[in-house]
């Protein structure tokens, strides 16, 4: 079974972003970048399926500028077999990403596609579902457990009320939640080995996808800051303040 994993280069999750003074975007120059945490979990899950003998090949794909090769190399160092970069300097909307991924799906014919549930930059949370719709595949989002058996994927999903289990025919799309697994660290020898693994570079044009801008960002602002509060000396004082000053308890 071949697994395709979509990975995105994003700002490192520990960085507190700042909005640019001209309110056009957030400051990304000289910021630490990394693999989207949910994509890291997606790669880990695919590699575990390969280690279990369920998967035969793990292909990672990313859409972005040249620098996204770094994230593909990270995924290869973690154990993926082959990378595909769809290179563009443009900011690509989720729907265009899904269309590009769909073009890759048609070429690669994977039986399972794993994506993160959300990119931590755009917080969109939609690409996997869009791809599933375009590819006509069943989907299971927010997966916290994935089992492949008898040509099906059994997925436990994290939903607002608790957990839900679905059974999907393959090929299918799964998006990862945080508790699916804990990603490993790449070892130095594996990082070295990853440099020699195949990494294909393609263009959106070659895949026949027109990068339409569906949603224009017209402004990016900082959120309203909270007034700084006070430290009180005791729980007694806290309760008094909540009753008499904030008036939020009776």
């Amino acid at each position: 079974m071949k697994i395709l994993v979509a990975v995105k280069r994003v700002i490192d999750y520990n960085v507190k972003v700042r909005v640019k003074a001209d309110l056009t975007d957030v400051e990304l120059a000289n910021t630490k970048m990394g693999l989207n945490p949910f994509c890291e979990i997606a790669v880990e899950e695919a590699i575990r399926l390969k280690e279990k003998g369920v998967a035969t090949e793990v292909v990672v794909v990313s859409i972005g500028n040249k620098a996204s090769q770094e994230q593909l190399r990270t995924a290869l160092a973690l154990g993926a077999d082959r990378g595909i970069l769809i290179e563009t300097e443009q900011v690509v909307d989720s729907l265009s990403v899904a269309k590009l991924l769909q073009a890759v799906v048609l070429e690669e014919k994977p039986e399972l596609v794993i994506l993160g549930k959300q990119s931590i930059d755009s917080d969109n949370g939609q690409t996997g579902q869009m791809l599933a719709a375009l590819a006509g595949m069943p989907q299971a989002t927010f997966a916290s457990e994935l089992t492949i058996a008898d040509g099906q994927a059994i997925v436990v999903r994290e939903v607002d009320g608790g957990l839900q289990t679905l059974e999907l025919n393959l090929p299918a799309v799964v998006t990862t939640d945080l508790r699916l697994n804990e990603p490993r660290y790449a070892s130095l020898p594996n990082i070295m080995k990853a440099k020699r693994k195949p990494l294909d570079v393609k263009t959106p044009e070659a895949l026949g996808v027109d990068l339409k801008c569906y949603l224009k960002v017209i402004k990016v602002e900082p959120p309203t800051e909270r007034q700084s509060g006070i430290v009180v000396e005791s729980i007694g004082e806290l309760v008094t303040k909540l009753k008499n000053e904030a008036k939020v308890i009776g």
């Binding site: 069943p138 989907q139 299971a140 839900q164 402004k219 909270r226 509060g229 308890i249």
Partner: protein, 316 residues
């Protein structure tokens, strides 16, 4: 053209967040003069439609009652919505795990963008939404003829529910609904609680890694009982297995904005703050005076939580 709101429900009860989404729709209606319709799709869900008609400001409730929608799987929900989509300019659903599951499919099948988790309506085609875990707010403009969007419930006040409604319920037949979607519902393991629902509770008390184990969450229960609060948690507490995943507050968990949020043994990582920093009053109980949670707290107490919690319960 009309505005469509997809109701959130479990075939029995209309979830309150639907009323917040109707408020967002009302704001679109104000600038467009359009009418709002509410879709209740489920199985044996007439009771939900009976509740939905009471929502103020809507023109009609569409009821689709078919076994195909019993668990509202993304495949069947999206295929239903695109079948009726022609007359709608705006399609809105809550940014719940359900709305987030099927709405992007709806958008892709209609070949339009999906606008995730809007927090304000600026005009017919312009909306605000948080990005980077709420560290920036983007104003986005859609060039599509149809706007498909999810709505952050806490950013809109719920519309009133009127007992004497004259809104009609219209049954919608969907004979050509796709039943063989390759996805089957196997089981739900839902956590039942007598407490208010996290995202709509007036008071929320959350525990973090500092709680040390699941048993200690009992210390929060006594306080929650007295305050009528919902109990939440940080991801670290969920990951450590102290409590179940449905309690996670944050960027990738639930977004809450209660009148009072009490964070106990939570450091205040940006991903946690993303889920609660719009609360009206924030209280932090933490033994580390340098914990980042204090930077957003209105009232902080630097104290060991095991000493603080029994005292807190007593004082109430």
């Amino acid at each position: 053209m009309t505005i469509l709101v997809i109701a959130e429900h479990d075939n029995v009860e209309l979830k309150p967040v639907t009323l917040n989404v109707i408020q967002a729709a009302t704001e679109v209606a104000k600038v467009t003069g359009k009418e709002i319709e509410v879709l209740v799709a489920g199985f044996d869900c007439r009771a939900v439609a009976d509740q939905a008609v009471k929502a103020n400001g809507i023109g009609k409730v569409l009821l689709v009652d078919d076994e195909a929608y019993s668990s509202q799987l993304a495949e069947s929900m999206s295929s239903l919505i695109i079948k009726i989509a022609a007359k709608y300019s705006h399609i809105l659903a809550p940014a719940s795990t359900s709305g987030k599951n099927f709405m992007p499919r709806v958008a892709a099948l209609l070949d339009v963008a999906q606008i995730s988790e809007i927090i304000s309506v600026e005009s017919e085609n312009t909306f605000k939404r948080p990005i980077y875990a709420g560290n920036a707010i983007a104003t986005v403009q859609s060039g599509d003829t149809k706007k498909v969007m999810t709505v952050r419930g806490t950013a809109f006040n719920p519309v009133d529910s009127n007992e004497h409604s004259i809104v009609e319920i219209v049954g919608v037949e969907t004979p050509d609904v796709e039943k063989n979607t390759g996805s089957r519902h196997v089981a739900d393991e839902l956590v039942s609680t007598d407490r208010p629902e996290l995202t709509s509770a007036r008071v929320v008390i959350s525990g973090g890694r500092g709680m040390a184990n699941g048993d200690n969450f009992k210390l929060l229960d006594g306080i929650a009982d007295k305050l009528g609060a919902a109990v939440g948690a940080s991801r670290a507490a969920v990951d450590a297995g102290f409590v179940s995943n449905d309690m996670q507050v944050g960027q990738t968990g639930k977004i809450v904005a209660p009148e009072l949020y009490i964070a106990v043994g939570i450091s205040g990582a940006i991903q946690h703050l993303a889920g609660m920093k719009d609360s009206k009053v924030i209280v932090a109980i933490n033994k580390d005076e340098d914990a980042p949670i204090f930077s957003v707290a209105d009232y902080g107490v630097v104290i060991d939580l095991f000493e603080a919690l029994p005292l807190f319960e007593q004082e109430l």
